[in-house]
Amino acid sequence: MRKYKELQIMSLTLRHLFLLLLVLVWLAPIVWLVFNAFSEFPGLNIRKFFPDSYTLENFRVLLFDTSDTVARFPVWFANTLKIAIFSCIVASSFVLMVSYAMSRMRFHGRRSLMSIGVILGLFPGFLAMIAVYFILRTFGLTNNHWGLVLIYSGSSGLGYLIAKGFFDTISETLSESARIDGATEMQVFWFIIIPLSKPIIVYTVISAFLAPWMDFMFASIILNSGIATDWTVAIGLYRMLDRSFINTHFARFCAGGLLISIPISVLFVIMQKFYVEGITGGAVKG
């Protein structure tokens, strides 16, 4: 009996040691990022995992020192914020509009529209991007933040599936009774469905807002002038690791990465919560 107990404790310890090891592997690069952000050595420390000495200088230079022409973090942050806010407004309204129409209304051609959406999803997004670049250039919208807003929000209607899934779960009897009372479809949308859809609206808004912060590919194609004050955070941070800058800017890159991770992770946690609610909560309300 005692032997059995010992064996059980052994297996429990092993199980948790294994998890600890895995979590360490998963956290190592993040920990490395955090410690390097406070490192006094500006370049890539190749000898040791942890820095020799610590400082807040990297954050000070990044946020307040305008003499650093490579790292214009406050400008990038403002640019990205502007792009994110505008594309978020357009993209979230597009997504909610399309998903409501596809979920709650029945009309001629609904299925064909949905199949077209599936087929378009099979083309690499980058292929369309090449032509979009030339189209925007024809209208003078490259190296322009509005061009980027158009790219992030223009086709956003295609990403309607998750919100549609949520609208599908809201009971039809609610809108039916409103219609019997004489409500138009628009009133049903505004006064019945939208107030019930807070989780999925929060999810849609946050994910639309986060896209410009995370995107590297589209931004690097549209904002290709090489003028640092035009860039978004993603391009700026990428350029800081250019071979010619990495030895002076690696610690600042880590500081910048850490700085934008904080708001993003807060939004991400909120989004996750609402995403789970959005997937499971709708059914309860019915």
Binding site: W26, W32, N45, F123, L127, G154, T184, M186, I260
Partner: protein, 485 residues
């Protein structure tokens, strides 16, 4: 019941189209003089029924389209056959005594605005035919004494039974402008010779038929595209499946490992993994890339603990290097990007899998236990099939996503990885490239738009074939009742 639904949905699209055209013709023949007049002035039928505002709008639309077709449309459509013939050249102007640029043709603008013109005119034509049917329907309503909608009624219906049109107009316009038109243009570029030697405005490009497709599948001294395409395609497929399935199985294992009753502090472990999602992907990827750089910390640590020399001794790391070529050797890099992708992807899969695992009916496990199934057997015969069933559509989209997974490959290997394979280098491909990163390099560095378009079409073909097969395999067999108790 389901039979009728299926039959209705499988309506023949060709039949619907011919039906529409037949309807237009009969409406035109049977309609009164104002219906016939509508074929000339689109608003005529509406004026007759006192729908003045609608009549004016429709007629104005017609006028705009005619002006468009005569000016803009004619200018570009007349040149779309050749994509322009007047080459860009400086001309000496004797009046101003300066060099000026001649009135040259810009092939890409001709292609772009030509395609736009065709789409606009096609839509306008459909609208024109539709208009005849509408006017005829209006006539029939008037004849049977039904209420004719006023303009205010129309506005009201846009908020009610036609609310979907109000909702969908702008999003669809966005999709047409930013996805459909660009895709059509890029597909047409695949049939031209648009590349570095034929760059507007300095020079013209023109149609070449199927030349580019032939080049993609041929392998000779002039072109090693065939060789490179085969290599890149096979690595793309290996990558897509390896990346998807490794994340899937390992993520579920991790989720069920943490979910196990014996594991304490479940929340702490989960948070530990989720922290890595919170940092934006491009930051973590760039960090990891420097972690594994030639002179990176991983190499220092590996040398310190003797891993480098050990790997060299067993022949896994090249002996002439004093470091492990994590992201610079073809084989090492391929293994590393898959491993790093596991690192990135598992927290996501774990999140999703945790939700699904909690929904597996407990009765399934209890009855399995009574029948004497071991935990391993329960995993193989209950957990796995259940997860597969629930997440199959997600997996299919995930494979397509990974075929196009630009970020991981680009951010990990761009500027670091160089190929030693001359045949690949000749067409700007690398062993580590996916079709989409190759496409990116061809356009952004080499301006070889024609081959990039061909590759883009190939990506679509691969994704479409895979999706069709996978969905038929998964959905075709009806397994729905298997897990319902």
């Amino acid at each position: 019941m389901t039979g009728t639904v299926a039959r209705i949905e499988k309506k023949n699209p060709l039949g619907a189209i011919t039906g529409f055209f037949k309807g237009v013709v009969t409406d035109f023949i049977e309609g009164d003089i104002f219906v016939k007049l509508s074929a000339l002035v689109m608003g005529a039928g509406y004026f007759r029924r006192k729908q003045i505002i609608k009549g004016i709008i429709v007629t104005l639309f017609q006028a705009v389209i005619i002006l468009f077709a005569g000016g803009f449309g004619r200018h570009y459509l007349s040149r779309i056959g050749t994509l322009g013939s007047v080459e860009y050249a400086p001309v000496f102007n004797f009046e101003t005594m300066k060099n000026e640029i001649n009135d040259y043709d810009h092939s890409f603008q001709i292609l772009l605005f030509g395609v736009v013109s065709i789409i606009v005119l096609a839509v306008a034509f459909m609208f024109y035919l539709r208009n005849i049917r509408n006017v005829r329907a209006l006539e029939l309503r008037a004849k049977s004494g039904l209420h004719i909608h006023t303009f205010l009624d129309d506005v009201r219906s846009a908020k009610d039974e036609r609310f979907h049109i109000t909702l969908l107009t702008f999003p669809c316009l966005g999709i047409v402008l930013f996805t459909i038109v660009p895709l059509i243009i890029m597909i047409t570029v695949a049939f031209t010779n648009y590349d570095q030697l034929h760059m507007p405005p300095a020079s013209l490009f023109t149609w070449v038929g199927l030349e580019n497709f032939k080049a993609l599948f041929s392998n000779n001294i002039a072109s090693s595209f065939g060789y490179a395409f085969g290599k890149v395609l096979s690595w793309t497929l290996i990558w897509a499946f390896a990346a998807t399935f490794s994340n899937f199985f390992l993520g579920i294992m991790l989720a069920s490992f943490i979910n196990n009753a014996k594991t304490k502090l479940k929340r702490v472990w989960r948070t530990g993994f989720i922290v890595s999602i919170a940092v934006p992907q491009f930051v973590t990827l760039l960090i990891v890339r420097n972690f594994f750089a030639r002179q990176g910390i991983a190499n220092t640590l590996a040398a310190d603990i003797g891993l480098t020399s050990f790997l060299q001794n067993i022949g896994l790391s090249p002996a002439h290097l004093d470091f492990i070529p994590f992201l610079t050797d073809p084989n090492w890099a391929k293994v590393m990007v898959i491993l790093i992708n596991i690192w990135i992807g598992i927290p996501f899969t774990m999140l999703i899998a945790t939700g699904v695992l909690m929904n597996i009916p407990k009765e399934l496990y209890e009855s399995a236990k009574i029948d004497g199934a071991s935990p391993f057997k329960q995993y193989i015969y209950i957990t796995m099939p259940y997860m597969l069933f629930v997440t199959a559509p997600f997996m299919i989209t995930q494979v397509v996503h990974n075929i196009n997974n630009f970020n991981v490959i680009y951010l990990l290997t761009q500027d670091i990885y160089t190929t030693t394979d001359q045949a690949l280098a000749a067409v700007n491909a690398k062993e580590i490239d996916l079709l989409v990163t190759w496409l990116h390099r061809l356009t952004q560095e080499q301006y070889d738009y024609k081959m990039a378009s061909v590759i883009g079409i190939m990506v679509f073909v691969v994704c479409a074939v895979f999706t069709l097969i996978a969905f038929n395999l998964v959905i075709g067999r009806n397994k729905e009742d298997k897990f319902q108790l």
